[in-house]
Symmetry: D2
Subunit: 257 residues, 4 copies
Amino acid sequence: MTDTLKIADKTFRSRLFTGTGKFSSSKLMQEAIVASESELVTVALKRVDLHSTCDDILMHLKQDHINLLPNTSGVRTAKEAVFAAQLAREALQTNWIKLEIHPDPKYLLPDPIETLKATEILVKEGFIVMPYINADPVLCKRLEDVGAQCVMPLGAPIGSNKGLITKDFLKIIMEQSKVPVIVDAGIGAPSHAAYAMELGADAVLVNTAIAVSKNPVQMGIAFKMAVQAGRLAYQAKLAEVNQYAEASSPLTSFLNE
Amino acid sequence: MTDTLKIADKTFRSRLFTGTGKFSSSKLMQEAIVASESELVTVALKRVDLHSTCDDILMHLKQDHINLLPNTSGVRTAKEAVFAAQLAREALQTNWIKLEIHPDPKYLLPDPIETLKATEILVKEGFIVMPYINADPVLCKRLEDVGAQCVMPLGAPIGSNKGLITKDFLKIIMEQSKVPVIVDAGIGAPSHAAYAMELGADAVLVNTAIAVSKNPVQMGIAFKMAVQAGRLAYQAKLAEVNQYAEASSPLTSFLNE
Amino acid sequence: MTDTLKIADKTFRSRLFTGTGKFSSSKLMQEAIVASESELVTVALKRVDLHSTCDDILMHLKQDHINLLPNTSGVRTAKEAVFAAQLAREALQTNWIKLEIHPDPKYLLPDPIETLKATEILVKEGFIVMPYINADPVLCKRLEDVGAQCVMPLGAPIGSNKGLITKDFLKIIMEQSKVPVIVDAGIGAPSHAAYAMELGADAVLVNTAIAVSKNPVQMGIAFKMAVQAGRLAYQAKLAEVNQYAEASSPLTSFLNE
Amino acid sequence: MTDTLKIADKTFRSRLFTGTGKFSSSKLMQEAIVASESELVTVALKRVDLHSTCDDILMHLKQDHINLLPNTSGVRTAKEAVFAAQLAREALQTNWIKLEIHPDPKYLLPDPIETLKATEILVKEGFIVMPYINADPVLCKRLEDVGAQCVMPLGAPIGSNKGLITKDFLKIIMEQSKVPVIVDAGIGAPSHAAYAMELGADAVLVNTAIAVSKNPVQMGIAFKMAVQAGRLAYQAKLAEVNQYAEASSPLTSFLNE
């Protein structure tokens, strides 16, 4: 199938992006990610050994042709984010960066002002910037305007597994955006991922829901299939939602004749 | 994989049941059903040529090893339903019957009283009865008590494509039922089908959403994958829904040290 | 205001019906009910002293011109319900009965079959029957056909405080019903009660949400106002829900001139 | 009652703020606003005759002791907003300003960056700034930090009448905010207004839903009551939402004895 997703200079066959946090072991993480067929995996800086490029697990993922996407999780300002991105570039030899700026320690919600500021700076420094943000359509346009390579609006607060509670705003973002829209945070079940794709998302990022499942490998497969199902449905066009019932079977009228 | 569904004497590998209504052509119907890998397909009596067992399309489906499930769509009373079931048994040489009794011509909602009455009679006459009903947990237990081989509660009014608006009641039904629970009506998107399976449904029945899509074959595949994804997720156990955020990435604290 | 509700031979100015269960004291119950201005209050048979007509609290409610509506809570069959209704008629000197038949001890969901059966019998015996049922439009029409004076579909499982999760079915019931529709069970907040009235309910029944509040008297007042607000809004007609935004303020264009 | 709301130097008995747009006549606007008992009413600059302080309608509202709150509806940048605020201050002799900056002509969604920038400037110039924004908890804290006197997060896109689709984020905002939280935009029915108040909002702003109703005066009363009902319920504390049913009536067990 030729339905691929292009971000900057990379082409992805899979529209399921994953993360490396919260798994009970590195081995299970690697198996689940491979099973999910994800080709882009976020890695927190803390996981990266900054004094060596030989982090074993990461090496394994790289050997599986999986792209590592360092994130700035934990930073609170644009300045910290820029510094973290530079460290990540050096450690992982990649100019891709997932920008996460959350001054709020409880809900970890992103800061729109600092995220725009950091995106502007990092784009100028040659980074491929993927900003994690609220489902704010105006902010998404502004990020696009300063050179973000995609936007990553949240579906619900991170780790809440509530699904796409921001769906009305996500629809507007998808309608307006000229860069890929990747739904991030809140996706707690394959049905949520399928729904995001049915709405027209270009990809989804799932971490917690796979990592904390009783069986992360099987859950990785479930998400892979759900994302594909949602994408196929989006292309094939879903039926309208109706207020009134419509019979699907022709009614048996001969009984009354 | 050994995860099969047993209803009466039949074993199904697929948990996606489909219908034959609303397709733009018989050829497209056949292709979509085959692509969906559905093994049980409802057929309205009207579609069956009662004077011959040689309805071409149905023959083709049978050759594809797809089981036909006649339905009583259009009947308004238990008496009419029993008569329709007997005709169907003769025409299609099957004692399986999907019971649909809807006196209401606008919303086509099922009648709980007549459905229970007809189920009792048909079970005594040797039918395998699959009743379509409201998501009414008490009615489901009563149908089980009189011998229904499964229950088929609705997710939303038929043809509405609204998804599982009855989810709170479906959960109770799944928790209590000793016979398979098949969610019928209202499923308008693969994400809805995945959700039904994640909740613990044994199968789903989808007709309109596949038939009226711009591309029924592709939509059939999408539903197949979504049902499998939901089932895998149900087995692997989903994470809890949380009120509060939880970071999925370890936070980068070195910046503050 | 002349907007009154008529059920059988009685006319109500208040569209808020209440209950007597779960209050921390009888005094608080009475104060809250009086504050709510409710004119119809359900009473469980157990609360009624069957050997005397002098239950003090009930006497007080009667002196406040509040109508007592005995309910059959706890019965599991039509036969038990008929017996309970007869006892209640004798004890409380009223032929009004709220019919609740729930064989299910955990969720207390109503039995559609037994409820229809009991309604038929009790109507013939001269009772004013107010049946508590699922939000099942076909069942509602059948109850109306056998002489129920109103229908009381549930909004959500009793005591769940989830609001009107059955709203799509309630709308159909309201559209079709020729007898008053009273939304019962599930109403956990004044906003839920207002919503039921906005949809077109003729009245709502609220018990738990008032009784278990920290301040039942104030909550009784809150529900009174919410019911009135919802009724006024229903009469004044609500604006349509729009997919797209519409400015409410004229846009300041002089800046661009 | 002593439950008043204080913003800057003003004290409000009513927690219902209203607007002046979309009414079919000025007379109806005035009557509806008076009936609603609202004490703060937004006015678009365009409505204000900038060459005279004698706009009749506005004079009437002032005589009814209703505070006028000019808004900057239609501006697209912080710069335009500051200019508009200065004009409004001169024309209406008030340093209160409702800040609305929406570069997006279709959905009229607010711009977080420009809104923060304008708030900072206007606070320094002595304005009482009431910013209209997305339901973005981090942005709300930043606005509070630069001196906004309240925050006005949206419930849904303006004019959509969809209610509080942002409720999960509104809850976080209410939990964190040290300035009043006023839910603005999206409130299409009294039940929505009651719900906002039950969640803990300090006030709501309603315009479209009153203005376009068939009977704006009656709708104004309905909103007034719903806001009061929601506030009373918030104070009296609502019952918890339960997964399982709980009987409200004591079950009649004597039948089984």
